[in-house]
């Protein structure tokens, strides 16, 4: 298969059912409100540790995960909330985990940076940049050996695409013909370092060609573009065609981590992105202007999501801390 650098204009919203459209919008809204709320709560000092927010990048996680089956796996990054939510992790379990509570998805052992839920196919947010791509090669191998037709997806940032593990994984997936898709979320920054200072040849997708796989670039703010390209790559993987690389150009709305003053960004950069490239606004516009759904349907989703997030915070705050006895649980299965 030849290397396509840009797919066609994006999926026609009319090709998706109204239920699918509302579900996709809801997922993006859940991610947005979850992140906005964590941002607010973090400022109060009640949430421990490091928190990296995904707001602004909703269309990437959602567009990719909407094509996946429940038994497919994703491996995420330190910026993992959006991926986890899009793959179907429980909102309340995630919120409790971020607060370090016993009711959290990982029983308070992992926190924001390590949210995982194997049952939902979420192999974990990852504190190690470049940790994910090798893991999904393993998922691809399992799928091939056991003939399960599962697909493995790794999400990696533009910064992470410079890690040896990423480049080694492209090669391994390619020579082993693995059913894997490498997603690059190119938001232009690795922490405070703009990609103009950390990579030559800003398009990561172009590296695909060197590894003998297709590379695609899409507007990561447009759900329909992401979804269409993800569908192509995932179908190819599932049918035995091998790996692909999909680069999504996107924006992060908040700092690298909560507390980051972002003085390295141009004044107005984020405000402009919020005004002109917001994935939720773009989605709603495409659907309403095609006359598929009226705006008030979206407002109903907004209200329902806000209530859910509010509940999740109240419950997380009220939840018990892990017991001290649990400190030694789960180091081994048996010892």
């Amino acid at each position: 298969m030849t290397t396509a650098i840009r797919p066609p204009i994006g999926l026609d919203p009319g090709l998706l059912s109204r239920d699918d459209l509302l579900r996709a919008y809801r997922t993006m809204r859940v991610i947005r409100e979850f992140e906005e709320r964590v941002h607010k709560e973090f400022a109060t000092g009640e949430i421990p540790g490091f928190v990296h927010l995904y707001a602004g990048e909703e269309a990437v996680a959602t567009g990719v995960c909407d094509v996946l089956k429940p038994n497919d796996y994703i491996a995420s990054t330190h910026r993992g909330h959006g991926h986890a939510l899009a793959k179907g992790c429980d909102v309340k379990g995630m919120m409790a985990e971020i607060y370090g509570k016993a009711t959290g998805l990982c029983h308070g052992k992992g926190g924001s940076m390590h949210i995982a839920d194997i049952d939902t196919g979420m192999l974990g947010a990852n504190g190690i940049v470049g940790g994910g791509p090798p893991l999904v090669c393993g998922v691809g191998l399992t799928s091939k050996v056991l003939k399960t037709h599962q697909v493995g997806i790794s999400f990696t940032g533009d910064g992470g695409s410079n890690q040896g593990t990423f480049l080694e994984s492209l090669n391994l997936a390619s020579v082993w013909d693995l059913p894997v898709v490498f997603i690059i979320e190119n938001n232009g920054y690795a922490e405070s370092t703009s990609n103009q200072f950390h990579q030559k040849g800003i398009d990561v997708a172009r590296r695909a060609e060197a590894f003998g796989m297709p590379g695609m670039i899409v507007n990561g703010q447009d759900y329909f573009e992401v979804r269409e390209a993800a569908q192509v790559a995932i179908d190819r993987a599932r049918s035995g065609g091998g790996p692909s690389l999909l680069e999504c150009k996107t924006v992060r709305y908040y700092g690298h981590f909560e507390g980051d003053q972002q003085k390295y960004r141009e004044p107005g950069e984020v405000e402009r992105a919020r005004a002109e490239r917001d994935p939720l606004v773009i989605f709603e516009k495409r659907v309403t202007s095609a006359g598929i759904l009226p705006a008030d349907q979206f407002r109903m989703v907004d209200a329902e999501v806000l209530a859910l997030i509010e509940e999740s915070v109240i419950e997380a705050k009220a939840a018990p801390q892990p017991t001290l006895e649990s400190l030694l649980d789960d180091v081994y299965v048996s010892y």
Binding site: P48, M113, N162, L328
Partner: protein
């Protein structure tokens, strides 16, 4: 009034002064210049904790951002050191050692020996370690014993601002590869730091506080824990001597043995994992020496588990003064060997 600085600022000053003195010193790592030059209001992060903030403005050609490619830039530090520079490479968290260990362990650490003494690798890897800030399992480990294990590397673990500055200067001037381990929960700690450039030699322990009844050896942040324990013990009439080895390789074994010879009782407090760790090494040093102990030596460490995220679990994980007091009581129980 003597001047005080934070642990963070002491490290920054050591770098600034040494870079001004020696133009072969270069500093690189992720976000060390971070963002500088992106637009008009240039700002340099100075790494994720801001430890190197301000250095890019002073030395724009020698403070260099790297891609997230630890294997390449840590290896580049070794190559640069072997060919004429004195690189200081920042590994943001010691937990990331996994992606570049080969370049440290099989390259930098072994050049001199394998090449029959014909190579020198004067490089420093600055990194941070330790629990206490809710950073969870992949950002909280105390891995300095892993590096101490490797012949050819020197390993520094400063416990206060004065030592941090002097040890870093010594590390930069040293001809061997040095791993400089900063405790991330100590960056805000203040202490007296002279303005002039001075060295604290590698391999020389510090007697943090003299005492007669028991020797407590502690490193990094555990020195503070040991001091708190010693105060409690003092109230009960037990006089504890605290020794901070300051560097784990070379190790000032003489200072430890001398102290234990005097007190006859021995406790080690260490934040690394208990198995095959710094603590077991320090216990074996005394156990296999000719110093006669008059009680059973005690080791206080976290349990054998990754570092948990939840605050209460993390606090339970870290050694605390009460555990040290209990260990001292056990170590000084007379007749334990009877």
């Amino acid at each position: 009034m003597p001047r005080t600085l934070t642990y963070m600022k002491a490290i920054n000053e050591a770098l600034a002064q040494e870079m001004a003195r020696d133009e072969t010193v270069v500093l690189f790592g992720e976000d060390v210049a971070g963002g500088a030059g992106t637009h008009e209001e240039m700002d340099a992060w100075g790494g994720v904790f801001g430890v190197t903030k301000g250095l890019w403005e002073q030395f724009p050609d020698r403070v260099i951002d790297t891609p997230i490619s630890e294997s390449a830039y840590v290896g580049a530090a070794a190559g640069a050191a072997a060919s004429g520079l004195r690189p200081v490479a920042e590994l943001m968290f010691v937990d990331f050692i996994g992606v570049c260990l080969d370049q440290i362990m099989n390259q930098a650490a072994k050049f001199r020996y394998m090449f029959g003494g014909k190579a020198e690798t004067p490089m420093v890897i600055r990194t941070c370690f330790g629990a206490g800030v809710g950073a969870a399992a992949q950002h909280s480990q105390s891995l300095y014993p892993v590096l101490t294990h490797i012949p050819g590397l020197k390993v520094v673990v400063p416990s206060n601002p004065y030592d941090a500055k002097g040890l870093l200067v010594a590390a930069i001037r040293d001809q061997d590869p040095v791993i400089f381990c900063e405790h991330k929960a100590m960056y805000a700690m203040r202490g007296e730091v002279p303005e002039d450039l001075y060295e604290v030699p590698l391999g020389q322990a510090r007697i943090v506080r003299p005492g007669d009844d028991v020797t407590i050896v502690a490193l990094g942040r555990m020195v503070q824990i040991a001091e708190q324990a010693a105060k409690k013990l003092e109230a009960d009439g037990v006089s504890a001597e605290i020794i901070d080895p300051r560097t784990t390789s070379p190790l000032d074994s003489q200072a430890i043995l001398d102290s234990v010879r005097k007190t006859g009782h021995y406790v080690v407090v260490d934040e690394s994992s208990p198995r095959c760790g710094m603590g077991t090494d320090l216990i074996s040093l005394v156990a296999t020496s000719d110093v006669a102990l008059r009680g059973i030596p005690q080791l206080v460490t976290p349990p054998h588990t990754p570092v948990p995220f939840a605050k209460n679990l993390e606090q339970a994980y870290i050694p605390n003064p009460d555990k040290v007091v209990a260990a001292v009581r056990a170590a000084t129980r007379e007749g334990a060997f009877a």
